[in-house]
């Protein structure tokens, strides 16, 4: 490939680095930064750019770096024990017992070995005394030289020192070695040729400024090009919770289908949560082990109490047998954390008994369940009702099929179900390729025992869908708890698009 390089095509920083390299031939980044007068990361950026242009080479090599151990640092400051002992002798023979007055036993035992090995002194026995006699001519102590060097430069490579001495220091546990990848940058022949052509540094511009733009100066300046492939800093886009996004998607579907959104209190009387829905007062779902009861009691809606009592006790006047037994007003007053959002739709219908009513809500409901990966004591439910003259079971299936299709489930089927307040009851199921048919809620037509006491004259199509199962499918979660115990990292990394792409996968 023909070289496109001309000195004029280089940025000022590139020129600086190339000039520095031409002087020092090759260097690691630190040295290159110093030689070129750039910051280390800038020097690296430029080095990569030069390498791409074939003007420099970057060689990665493993570098052994040495630093002092705490003991090594002590000796680097005070001198090695053998040198300190030598200094103490003042070049005269000295007995071991004298030495022991000034030095610790441990230091002496280390020092004696090294005095001999380094040829610094002779050690002999005379009259049962051990005499240490320093030699007159001594070589300089390479070990100490390295220690002092490291004290000033650590961590540093010791390539210029004798490897035997380095090994001795490692053996004495005075220095330690760590390995690091080092990039060595060297100038290429091409680079040298370019430098020989003569390089003149003129200031180039990193950041475009208002001044440069206004004055037109930018035309004269060299705007430093970026390495467009250099990694950029990772930042995150704040967003609403993926679960909320999914709930909004469902809200949107019902709004588009002409439903009015409703809302209501979490705390409800048993009357609205159970009795108005024709749940017998001795029904197991009403017991303490399934429902969160509160100490407080609520007011009963006077206009309906009589009718609800009648329908429970003997079926009222709609041709029902009722549940028999006695219906207690007191039990109906007990406040609970709503166990389903049906409590909101039934109240809405009682307040709006004239057709047509199409309403939905998504709200938190509470069940007294121990927490595990698939059960939580609180979760969202999606509830919908249609009340109109002449609506039928087929219309119920129509609403459900439409909703699931819009949620991205192509295959929907219906099986008989059972819910205490609907008749007929149906369990809609959707097909998920890797899971097969899964149940996603319950639906039905409100029993006459539910609607008649509240003055509702037309059939009410109703459904309650567990949203959490859908959420797990769509968000790819295995543990429901993850929805309510947010992992900030997950929220940051979870792409907004994933939810819309995740349909029916």
């Amino acid at each position: 490939m023909a070289s496109p390089n001309k000195p004029s095509a280089l940025t000022a920083n590139e020129k600086r680095v190339l000039l520095a390299l031409s002087k020092i031939k090759s260097a690691d980044l630190q040295k290159l930064a110093i030689a070129s007068g750039l910051q280390v990361d800038a020097a690296m950026q430029v080095a990569f750019l030069l390498a791409k242009k074939g003007l420099a080479n970057i060689v990665e090599e493993m570098l052994a770096l040495y630093s002092l151990t705490p003991e090594g640092e002590l000796h680097a400051r005070q001198g090695l024990p053998e040198q300190r002992i030598l200094a103490y002798t003042k070049d005269k023979p000295i007995t071991l017992s004298e030495l022991k007055k000034a030095f610790a036993d441990k230091e002496i035992s280390i020092a004696l070995g090294w005095l001999r090995r380094k040829g610094l002194a002779s050690i002999r026995k005379k009259d049962k005394k051990i005499i240490i006699e320093p030699f007159k001519t001594r070589e300089k102590d390479l070990q100490e030289e390295i220690l002092r060097y490291l004290l000033a430069h650590q961590p540093e490579d010791l390539a210029s020192y004798s490897s035997a001495t380095v090994q001795e220091l490692l053996g004495r546990d005075l220095i330690r070695c760590t390995e690091r990848t080092s990039r060595l940058i060297a100038i290429t022949n091409e680079g040298r040729k370019l430098v020989r052509k003569g390089i003149e540094i003129e200031e180039d511009v990193g950041q475009l400024t208002p001044d440069l733009i206004r004055s037109g100066e930018w035309k004269k300046k060299c705007l430093r090009p970026y390495d467009i492939h250099a990694p950029s800093m990772r930042i995150f886009a704040a967003k609403k919770h993926p679960y909320q996004r999914l709930l909004d998607e469902m809200r949107q579907i019902f709004l588009e289908m002409g439903f009015e959104e409703i809302r209501g209190d979490i705390i409800q009387t048993s009357f609205w949560n159970f009795d108005a829905l024709f749940q017998p007062q001795d029904h197991p779902a009403r017991e303490m082990q399934d429902t969160f009861y509160l100490d407080s009691k609520g007011e009963l809606p006077g206009e309906y109490v009589r009718n609800v009592k009648d329908v429970h006790e003997h079926g009222g006047d709609i041709g029902s047998t009722g549940w028999g037994g006695h219906w207690s007003k007191e039990l109906a007053k007990a406040n609970v954390l709503r166990t389903h959002t049906t409590t909101l739709t039934i109240r809405h219908l009682a307040e709006n008994p004239n057709p047509p009513v199409k309403a939905f809500c998504i709200g938190r409901v509470y069940r007294r369940e121990a927490i595990d990966a698939t059960h939580l004591p609180e979760f969202e439910q999606l509830e919908g009702v249609v009340m109109d003259e002449g609506v039928s079971f087929r219309n119920l299936l129509g609403c459900l099929a439409e909703f699931y299709h819009r949620m991205g489930f192509a295959d929907v089927r219906f099986r008989p179900g059972y819910f205490p307040y609907t008749e007929p009851s149906v369990e809609p199921e959707v097909h998920v390729p890797e899971l097969g048919w899964i149940e996603l809620g319950g639906a039905g037509i409100f029993r006459r025992e539910v609607t008649a006491p509240l003055g509702i004259k037309h059939p009410v199509l109703a459904w309650g869908l567990g949203v959490s199962r859908l959420a797990m499918l769509r968000l790819g979660l295995r543990d429901l708890r993850d929805l309510y115990n947010p992992d900030i990292d997950w929220l940051r990394r979870y792409p907004i698009s994933q939810l819309s792409d995740g349909k029916n996968e």
Binding site: A238, K239, H241, Q244, L255, F259, E260, E261, R263, D265, I267, D282, P284, F292, Y293, L294, D295, S296, G298, G319, S320, T321, G324, G325, L337, P356, K358, C361, R364, R368, I371, P377, V386, D388, V391, S392, F393, R394, C399, E402, R413, F414, R415, P416, Y418, P420, E423, P424, I445, R447, P459, L461, Y484, N485, P486, D487, I488, D489, L491, R492
Partner: protein
Amino acid sequence: MPVITLRYDDLEKLVGADKDPILKQIPMIGADIERIEDEYADVEFFPDRPDLFSVEGVARAMRGFLGIETGLCKYDVKKSNISITIEKSVKPIRPCLTCAVVRGLHLDPGSIESLMTLQEDLHWGLGRDRKKISIGVHDISKVEPPFVYKAVDASMEFVPLDFDKKMSMRAILEKHPKGVQFAHILEGAKRYPLIADAKNNVLSFPPIINGALTAVTEETTDVFVEVTGIDASVAMALNIVVTALAERGAKIESVEIASDGKSVVTPNLSPTSRKLSVSEVNSLLGIALNAGQIARELEKMRFGAVARGETIDVAIPAYRADILHNWDLIEDIAIGYGFDKFKPELPETPTIGKTHPIEDKLALLREIMVGLGFFEITTFTLTNERVHFDMMNRPRAKATKVRHPISEEHTMIRSILLPNLMSVLSQNKHVEMPQRIFEVGDVIIDSKDVQKLAGVSTHSAANFAEIKSIVDVVLRELGLEYEIIESDDTAFLEGRRASILIRRRNIGVFGEIHPDVILNFGLDHPVVAFEMEIR
């Protein structure tokens, strides 16, 4: 919900069909197949259909559904000449009783097991865990009629089932596993119910345990069935048990029950009747069947049905507990017709969708907060006073506590959001700074839902100025005029905390979280926070 084990050999014999078409169709009568094994399948049935809690009952329904035998099942009831007297003494404790005799059983371990589970499932469902009804099935050859149902002293002794020596009734309630389990039903009673024979041999101690004497074994051919309870549902339980046994070819005989000088004969297996009009069926289901077709679907579901012009006379078998209203029949017509045959159709009336104003407001807040770089989180509304008050350095205030919390972590419903945000931060200590999160949602104040918004920001340079800017921009975006005054909220640092006032009403607080609170949540970086009520 009851899960019934259907052994294939038994099921195939009782239905008169191969297991595969049966298993294929079972979900379409209203059941969930839990598991399919080589020898049997476990199937869950709905609690409103106790007549399906036995393989015999399922077989009866499936014969109809598969078209093998349709219409009302007729069971002959002969008189047995056996009688039982209800003594006045037992009336205040457990007044209701129905009985029958079933003869000519050929029991094997499988059918005994099936009978036992049927009883247990009926105890659970219809019987509300034996409170409303309890059933005893006895080998009648071991005892001598006439029988008596009476209340006796707790010192009365007999050998209970599963034990081999006599125990007093008091001891049974204290020591026998069933006694311990169900003693609460008899709480407060001074005397206990007992069914005994002419020689005072004990058949049962309802609703606790039977006597060992009359235990049913493979040798048993004739049984005495008694159901005691507190209301008329005792009749339904008896009907379900005896018709299930009759499905195996046994003969049902009636028992005369004398009480207060009057007597009744049970079981009463005569069907009840209802009239359906063609139009109410078709308008509810949205289809167009004629009277004959409707009658055929009902017969498939084992009702008696006769079409007369535009009405159908329906005879409801005595074992069906779920037919309270005509619509219950219409559901069975739909099931007989086949849910898969209904063509879904959207309702015709056009309506206009409308969001709720509170949801609109919440969406607005989300938009503002996300625009400010805060991530939304969702948390539980159930919490506890330790996190809600103590860890926040705030005095314990009035809380909405639940009566039977499931754990120490969830004893009350939140009235503020901030502690949850702090908990989230403490779970995300390892995550890169800065962290900025918010939550918007419901809290409970004075038993009513109130919406709040809270946000926190944590990083090494978080300070009052930052959070003040956030609060200011949120309120400006909402178009709200506000003033701020010094706050005394101990969750925040003195001199670095403020209350938000709108038209002199305190709606929230912001500032630098107190270092004690930061440490309580196991954090170490500065945290600034705000919380405000949304109106």
